[in-house]
Subunit: 114 residues, 2 copies
């Protein structure tokens, strides 16, 4: 399930920080690892999870591996989230409209019974 992979990949602070760095431009694995207080091996594992989710692409030039950000899976995540934020807002709007209609009916009943 691609959406599961993308969300799992995003559910980690280090991986989000790596993506944040890559969203500003391509980088080597060693450059990515530098700001983190973890082993190069750990960083490589995080990168593999991001690659599996399609969030990171790798370009090999001789011994250099360049990593770049691919925002494609973010669109699917963003769409799911937006749809459910919206569904909720619509539900609240509908509820408010129903309550207002109810108030109007009650007010009309009171007037007609006077």
């Amino acid at each position: 399930m691609p959406l599961d992979d993308a969300l799992t990949a995003l559910a980690d602070e280090t991986r989000r920080a790596i993506l944040h760095r890559l969203s500003k431009g391509e980088a080597r694995v060693t450059e990515l690892a530098a700001p983190f207080d973890i082993s190069l091996n750990s960083v490589s594992k995080h990168i593999r999870i991001l690659e599996r989710a399609g969030l990171v692409k790798r370009r090999v030039m001789g011994r250099d591996h360049f990593l770049s950000f691919d925002p494609q899976p973010l669109h699917e995540v963003g769409d799911w989230v937006e749809r459910h934020r919206t569904l909720w807002t619509h539900r609240l709007d509908a509820l408010e409209a129903a309550l207002r209609a109810d108030d109007a009916i009650n007010a009309a009943k009171k007037r007609s019974s006077k």
Copy 2:
């Protein structure tokens, strides 16, 4: 890390389906479990993960437990995703502008050397 919990909770098809159902209105655990071909125990575990992430609230009335959707954590997820979709678009725009500027400089150089 609340964002980690929300993303982990969302990284499962069954949990997203439960949230989708709840985004349309409150439901009992048994009602939530009905459409899924999994045990009530499994559904309860999924619900606990959603509760821990703050995406689901529980209201207890006697023996009945009513569950409802709380979209609050979705805002933080949505904001992160939107920010990084946007960063990327801005980077592409900047790249395109730089290439266009480069083309313009080259064209000007050609003209002045004629």
